[in-house]
């Protein structure tokens, strides 16, 4: 089913979704766009290239409470935190980010150990994908086509949206999407012309080029395994790295977290907070030993995890080429260049 609406009317669409459940959509903020739970339909703004933070925060928020307890009381009195199961709509996700959910599913549910928080949110949420504009060049930091992701791939979304001059085309991809679109009012049926445009754009998205280098999962994984002990190489690429956590926090496929017990006034919460392999204390052991004290060791871990270990274990590269880490790095370190250099090494 392909429907359409005027871009100007997306607040109508947003308002309808808000009546059905929680709407998480791109909102303009000081430092850029971000996915936020929308309280006012007019906040929804699709005039963005890509968001600052990745949409993983819709399923895997930076901070998530698990258990509440009181100091001095029995463990049995601790109360697990229930999460609400209101239907949710994640609106305006770029194709590369949609792909990231598939990779994250491996960790949070695919390996047999199911994370109920991720799982429940994921099940409750319908994804509205949103194509990149194939007629304007990609941002210099992006490299999703290297990883085989098109600029307008509808796979993984429930409803896939794209701009056509002043209109927004909405195509139902899954049954859930079909049902959703059927229930929406104010959408008009698409013309055969729109249908043609949609298919053409998806095709154009497949041949759309961002930065590109030939990356074949198996060979790149092998390459990084061979490079592991080449310390001078890793030192060279990490000479400028500050070892802050920006790249991991904005990354759609980074999933490391820390469990903290935070107690104040006798009331405690056990919660999960994002952690980053770039932090010095990430690998600090209780004994005081730290196996990764050097910056190069930490950057090596990050790159090899995404491009080598992940391939060996799960068969796919854990990177979607969204370019966020590169765009936001305070010193412009670029994972694409690292991979590129490694392949030439």
């Amino acid at each position: 089913m392909l429907k359409k609406t005027a871009i100007q009317k997306i607040s109508d669409l947003a308002a309808q979704l808000m009546q059905k459940g929680t709407l998480i959509a791109p909102v303009r903020e000081d430092a850029g766009f971000n996915f936020r739970e929308v309280s006012d339909a007019n906040q929804v703004d699709l005039n963005f290239y890509n968001t600052l933070m990745s949409p993983k925060l819709a399923f895997f928020p930076q901070m998530e409470d698990f258990v509440r307890y009181q100091t001095g009381k029995s463990v049995l009195e601790a109360v697990p935190v229930e999460i609400s199961l209101k239907p949710a709509f994640l609106f305006g996700v770029r194709p590369c980010d949609v792909k990231s959910f598939e990779i994250m599913d491996i960790h949070f549910s695919g390996t047999g150990a199911v994370d109920p928080y991720w799982q429940k949110r994921r099940e409750a949420t319908a994804i509205f994908g949103y194509a990149f504009d194939v007629n304007t060049p990609a941002d210099g930091a992006d490299f999703y086509s290297t990883l085989g992701i098109g600029a307008a791939d509808p796979e993984g979304s429930d409803v896939f949206m794209m701009k056509k001059s002043d209109d927004l085309l909405l195509k139902a991809v899954t049954d859930r999407g079909e049902k959703l679109l059927a229930e929406m009012s104010g959408l008009t049926d698409a013309t055969p012309d729109d249908l043609k445009y949609f298919d053409e754009t998806v095709a154009a998205g497949r041949s759309f080029k961002t930065r590109f280098t030939c990356v074949e999962a198996k060979s790149v994984a092998k390459k990084f395994e061979d490079l592991f002990h080449k310390t001078p190489f890793w030192e060279r690429i990490s000479d400028g790295c500050l070892s802050c956590g920006v790249c991991t926090f904005v990354c759609p496929t980074c999933y490391c977290f820390d469990i903290c017990d935070e107690t104040l006034f006798g009331q405690g919460t056990r919660r999960r907070v994002w952690d980053a392999c770039m932090f010095t204390d990430f690998t600090l052991e209780a004994s005081g030993h730290n196996p990764r004290t050097k910056v190069y060791q930490r950057l090596r871990q990050k790159v090899c995890h995404k491009y080598s270990y992940h391939v060996r274990k799960y068969g796919v590269i854990s990177c979607v080429g969204c370019g966020r880490c590169t765009r936001n790095c305070p010193v412009n370190i670029d994972i694409f260049s690292i991979v590129d250099q490694a392949m030439k090494e």
């Binding site: 901070m63 000479d239 956590g245 903290c260 907070v273 936001n328």
Partner: protein
């Protein structure tokens, strides 16, 4: 007339090559090619052949003094310093983190640097507003004179004039954006503590989760730790992915320290940092 960036790059390469060939230093901290022209990366030249990769252009904003403390004591280093960066080196020498004789400063007078994230010229109000390094061994371009003198503290007036409740609301809004990626402390040349107070568990100074109170604790304490030491390079604010104007608070504290103790950070290697120093005749008025 300021020396062109191209010329500075040439001079920087020549100087670095000479130092490495003569084995005067074992590494040169400079800038290298990034993924495109507008995104240079910090680069460390270790042999003369590395020098070819050195670049210098208006986007080379990173403060290379940040990397000095990463190498073992006694390592002979040369470092490319812009005006604020040279103050950072001076401050590090004052704090005995690096020895004057171990470091060669390649001074670069600059004007019109640009932010590689936005592509815009960096507002001199967000930095220390100097054009020439305060300390250098070699100057890689002509000193810049005759430019308007900008007080680094002018930008504060509008915030100082705010009502205290409004100011609190302003900072709360800004700190609430913090995602605790710690880019500010990692980009800061003066933040070298290991471990940082906020990473400590016993005692636990502040919450690790990105909530208002933990953020407030982290930032206020960090401002305090940098009191009289912040050299106003503005790297923290540029590194911040969520654009918290950290420089404002640092400037405020720097100004207060300058007024109370009569000394700005990183101006002379003979100075002692103001908070590890005292004068018997310090006035009690400063406590009012």
């Amino acid at each position: 007339m300021a020396t062109s960036f191209k010329q500075i790059e040439e001079n920087l390469k020549n100087e670095a090559r000479k130092l490495l060939e003569d084995q005067k230093v074992s590494l040169v901290l400079a800038y290298g090619r990034g993924y495109d022209e507008n995104h240079p990366v910090p680069f460390v030249a270790k042999i003369a052949a590395d020098v070819e990769n050195i670049v210098f252009n208006e986007y080379c904003t990173a403060n290379m003094a940040r990397y000095l403390v990463r190498y073992p004591r006694g390592t002979k280093m040369a470092v490319a310093v812009k005006p604020a960066d040279s103050r950072a080196v001076v401050q590090l020498i004052q704090e005995d983190k690096v020895k004057r004789e171990d470091v060669i400063l390649l001074g670069i007078p600059v004007i019109g640097m640009k932010n590689s994230k936005t592509g815009e010229v960096i507002d001199s109000k967000t930095t220390c507003g100097l054009y020439n390094p305060v300390l250098y061994d070699v100057l890689l371009g002509e000193e810049i004179h005759g430019q308007p003198v900008v007080s680094p503290y002018d930008v504060l007036a509008q915030y100082e004039a705010m009502d205290k409740d409004a100011r609190f609301a302003f900072w709360q809004k800004e700190f609430d954006k913090c995602i605790r990626c710690y880019a500010c402390r990692k980009a800061c040349p003066m933040c070298y503590c290991d471990p940082c107070f906020i990473d400590q568990n016993k005692p636990k100074w502040g919450e690790k989760s990105p909530q208002s109170h933990g953020n407030l604790m982290y930032h206020l304490t960090r401002f305090h730790h940098l009191a009289g030491r912040c050299i106003d390079c503005g790297e923290c604010s540029r590194a911040c992915p969520v654009d918290i104007p950290l420089y404002l608070f640092h400037k405020k504290v720097a100004r207060e320290c300058e007024e109370m103790f009569g000394q700005a950070a990183g101006k002379s290697i003979q100075d002692k940092p103001v908070l590890v120093n005292f004068r018997v005749d310090d006035s009690d008025k400063i406590l009012e």
